[in-house]
């Protein structure tokens, strides 16, 4: 009886996993939504706007960054301001170099 129950449980699990995989594949191969296909001028502009920073986002871009140390320290000395240096492990922090 126990063996029968275990076998039945295994069949149910196998069937479930096949069903889930099929759904996953269907999802993976689903056609794009109309919003992702051929864009008209309006939807093109709308999606572009959605992607770009909104008010209050990406505030780091409000800072007038320098990439050149010389330009930065000349400006800092002229304005009597300290230098704020942002250095990322492999990147600038404000981009990839």
């Amino acid at each position: 009886m126990l063996m029968f129950k275990l076998k039945r449980a295994a069949y149910v699990l196998l069937a479930s996993s096949l069903l889930i995989r099929s759904i996953g594949e269907l999802h993976a191969l689903a056609p794009p939504t109309p919003a992702e296909g051929n864009l008209n001028a309006e939807t093109f502009a709308q999606i572009g706007k959605q992607i770009k920073p909104q008010l209050g986002e990406s505030r780091w871009m409000e800072v007038p960054w320098f990439l050149d140390l010389h330009e930065a320290w000349q400006k800092a000395a002229a304005e009597g301001k300290p230098l704020f240096i942002y250095s990322s492990g492999g990147a600038t922090g404000i981009g990839d170099c």
Binding site: E36, G48, E57, L69
Partner: protein, 337 residues
Amino acid sequence: MQDGRFGVNQVAPLVKENCVAVAINGHMLYWLAKTDGADGEFIKANRHPSGGNCFVLTTPSGTKLAGGNGGGGAREALNSGLKNWKLLTDEERKALPPGKEVKPPEAERCTPPPGGLILRSFARNLKKDGGELARITREDLKDRELYPGWAPVYAEPAHFNVWFTEAEWKSLVPAEPRKGVTFPVLDAIQKRLFRYHLVNGTFGLPGTWSREQIRTGTLTLTVEEVAPVVRMRLQGAALLTTDADPVKAQRGYDARLDGRLTYDPQKKAFTRFDVVATGDYWGGDYEGGRFKRPGRTPLGISFELVRDDNAIDRVPPLVHMDREQPYRAYFAAEKLR
């Protein structure tokens, strides 16, 4: 990359108001520190001992005021540093570092190509809302199954730059444009956009696709108008996956591209270069697939001409642009048709 990490967005107004901000690549710090001049001494004096993602407040002459590291590091450097700054004399605040300027040769590779074209790109994770693409809100992030481990900044766009050489961007302008004519975009440009710029850098540093991982990819331009300016429509698609079988792929992006380009023959320049890529992405970040959303979810990437003479617009496209091999790889398929 996602530039607003480590609390930089939060301190931006404070930095803008009180400081002159400079962003230096971690690799460039290394090269600068090796030079024998003002730069080398300056960097050696101001390098944060922990390395990594660090913030330092210093005088223009290179006297370190405070430093901080990682999340909260920016705030820490500013709070302590500005207090110390107030203790200085006017003379100390305006002094410049001694020694001559010495730029390492690696800096050359981090400079945009002469006569080239730079596009600014934003990548943003999106959601589908009733069949339409929409932004992910802070409210959405409360669902930790759909957004596992997400910080609010991951719902914001990541910023990148795209570089084309002069010869490359000029290849996009037909010598004798005729309305209705469709032609393929230069292979070098297609491959560069697919491999380096259709990536999800919203969680941190982005990866790249290998040539083999471009499973399908096309990009064409169609001339829609020839005078007084040349208007062109860019259309294409790319399937980028880590496995030849998209179902098995750990990471992928099934992107469709659409764009509007305007070339002004009088100015001999593009005056519009707006492109959007949309499609399903999966795979999370490039450090073990963290923050992976269930299923396949929309990622939008936009491209446009840089408008301002801002240092942000001159940031190189790659982390390792200072190194010869990645630099060459980026421009590898430079030959024209």
